[in-house]
Symmetry: C2
Subunit: 427 residues, 2 copies
């Protein structure tokens, strides 16, 4: 049985119990959300991991870190270092988006080293295989796709991004309002090109039931990808994006009926004033399925600092109800990310997730701020460092600049306001 089937039968699996303890959520409550499709547990039947998580209603906002080789950069060793850093600094899930080198070896290492759920975008392997075998990355058919899905599911991948919403129909919507930046999803672009070349419907859409069968057998959660997400705030919330979202909503419902867990991927590039509406639309059109947003970036001009732009958008989206934030690194749009880019991006996304949790009233979220505030009040530096979102960085900063008085920091020195008020109260 899948987690969804267990939930439908009101059976709490060990994973459900573990998650409820961690989140401080009642078991009945979580089972209800899973049953209703409002929460998912991305966990392959064949995998045991130390840190499973649930994503969705009533749960703390989760963070995903993308790693993987490109055709230009990234060795398996380097990417595994990034994987470990991502998990160390708080990623709740990782996606292996490799398209360069040996995809199979890379995935094996990721699955071996990851204590958190692992996701992939199988169309990448399908394309890379086609290119290797037939010299054209678009030379694949549904059997090739199913073979890759089956292999990856058997290996233990916990969630698949599939771009089943890039259809003839949603592509037509692209022409109703001309975009500044067209299709920016790699998977979306591959499928759009495939549809054009083969003059056939997207196989992920056409053979969705067969994909569901594989997902069901291994309890792989489907992350319904937004292949038509806008790549510029000038294109945000346009007809093609919404048409695809509508299709994804239907597909999420079909998954649920077949006892397959599903979540919905979202943009991308969204200006602040449209984020609330984007979350609302997803929740309505996709029957409250968990919302997995990429950023969103609130401006296009922050290349080199897109982790910050994404943190703004992610915090807002989470506050309005988004459930899962995909980090964006400072390298996005410029280069393959470095190890330190990965760390900084995870932390930036964790800040956004936590700020969002405070806003959406996740039980216990404020406790962390309270403990930190009390440590700050006492000027207990050890506790402040320990409670910081990245204790290593807080520690480095603290150690790099020692104050004259041990209970303050070098920012204010003698004029530390908290110390001053304490002295004043004593008089």
């Amino acid at each position: 049985m899948t987690q969804l089937e267990f939930a439908k039968n009101n059976i709490a699996t060990g994973t459900v119990k573990k998650i409820c303890r961690k989140e401080g959520l009642g078991i009945t409550q979580l089972l209800k959300y899973i049953k209703e499709g409002k929460a998912v547990i991305p966990l392959n039947k064949n995998r045991r991991i130390e840190k499973p998580c649930a994503i969705g209603k009533g749960l703390s906002t989760k963070v995903n870190a993308n790693i993987g080789t490109s055709t230009d950069k990234g060795t398996i060793n380097d990417e595994i270092k990034k994987l470990k850093a991502a998990i160390k600094y708080g990623a709740d899930a990782v996606m292996d988006l490799s398209v360069g080198g040996s995809l199979i070896r890379m995935r094996r290492e990721v699955l071996k080293h990851s204590s958190v759920p692992v996701g992939t975008v199988p169309i990448y392997e399908v394309s890379v295989r086609a290119k290797g075998l037939k010299k054209d990355f678009l030379d694949f058919n549904i059997e090739d796709i199913l073979a890759v899905l089956e292999t990856q599911a058997k290996e233990g991948v916990d969630f698949f991004t599939i771009h089943a919403g890039v259809t003839k129909k949603s592509l037509r919507a692209l022409s109703t309002q001309k975009r500044f930046l067209g299709v920016v999803s790699r998977g979306g672009a591959i499928l759009a090109a495939w549809i054009k070349k083969h003059k056939k419907e997207n196989p992920f859409f056409e053979y969705y039931d067969r994909i569901l069968d594989i997902a069901y057998r291994y309890d792989v959660t489907l992350s319904l990808g937004d292949g038509l997400r806008p790549g510029s705030i000038l294109d945000s919330t346009d007809p093609a994006q919404i048409e695809e979202l509508r299709i994804l909503g239907d597909l999420a419902l079909r998954a649920r009926k077949k006892n397959v867990q599903a979540m919905i991927e979202g943009p991308g590039h969204v200006p602040i004033e449209e984020i609330k509406q984007n979350v609302l639309l997803e929740k309505k059109l996709c029957r409250q399925a968990p919302f997995y947003v990429l950023g969103p970036l609130v401006t296009d001009v922050a290349a080199g600092y897109d982790h910050i732009s994404a943190s703004i958008g992610g915090a807002l989206a989470a506050g309005y109800g988004a459930d899962f934030l995909c980090y964006v690194t400072a390298s996005e749009h410029l280069r393959h990310p470095s190890l330190s880019d990965v760390r900084e991006a995870v932390v930036a996304a964790k800040i956004a997730a936590h700020a969002g949790d405070l806003a959406k009233g996740i039980k216990g979220a404020i406790k962390w701020d309270k403990e930190f505030t009390l440590a700050r009040k006492k000027r207990d530096w050890k506790a402040q460092v320990k409670l910081s979102i990245d204790p290593d960085k807080a520690n480095d900063y603290r150690r790099s600049s020692r104050p004259h008085l041990s209970d303050v920091c070098t920012m204010c020195g003698d004029y530390c306001s908290i110390r001053l008020m304490d002295e004043c109260a004593k008089k």
Copy 2:
């Protein structure tokens, strides 16, 4: 005449004209906003600067960078380097918050090297002088305060933060709801301690008219400080904060009547879900005076990354109508900031300001994103670097990781979606 008097007489000064050209705003419009107290031009009569700015309604959101020595850290040379970096990366104003070493020499250098408006918190110099002369930093009176204000105004300081809202009454409000973290403003703490020690009313409040006289003579803009701003999201929007805000509203009105420009300082630490209400309250209680927010930080746990926490809060606040964002560095709460902390914090605040400008519909803000999007579409890397919020960083990233194909980046390599769609369109 002050800028406010000129505006009341419908006279456009050279500075007004220059600002209107830069902002793409009509002269009549800006004069109207200044007249109504909705916008200010912080510029001392005695100073000529290359980059004056206006802050307030209809204008792009501005960014302030704090520099200055503490009693523990910071040489004048180091601080001037930070000043230059802050301006290079886009700060619209700087504040010299020095409390260590020679305050006079430091300020002279700042005024000499700053091409943007310079602000100070004169109570710091008052206290440091008192400590030097009388061994107690609280041993000062109104004459000492006025002497410092006069000196600094004569030297050319463009705006003063004065904590005139920390009064016996607003301090009483502190006891109506116990705070987790008390008073965290340095100026606020000094004045609260002074009031307790001397059992007298805050001299900035009691002798406000005399302060206005000095501000008027030099056209120093008053930045009415929030000495009682909460320093933890657990204390946000509490009775003391709002009582002080109400007082600041009255003081802003009194300034306007005396032809003195005024803006209002705001928190601090505010969870996402209270930011809109904070902006609204300021605009209502302070008769639409420009709102100058410090961050705000949306969580207390991001020590080491407070520039990101502040960027989230600042973007939201700006989107709802805040006019001026004070940067917060990654070092905040941990140490005196480094040069690179200053640069990163300025850029983080600029991202927030621009995201806010997009949300509040500032004329021309979207043009930047449009140009960037078009450069991205063309995969014109030179233009992308040039248009980036920090071209130096974008350039460093780009150069550090060269792709195999010159028109993509190493993130996606051969699988660049934009390139793929272009190739596809050609077929």
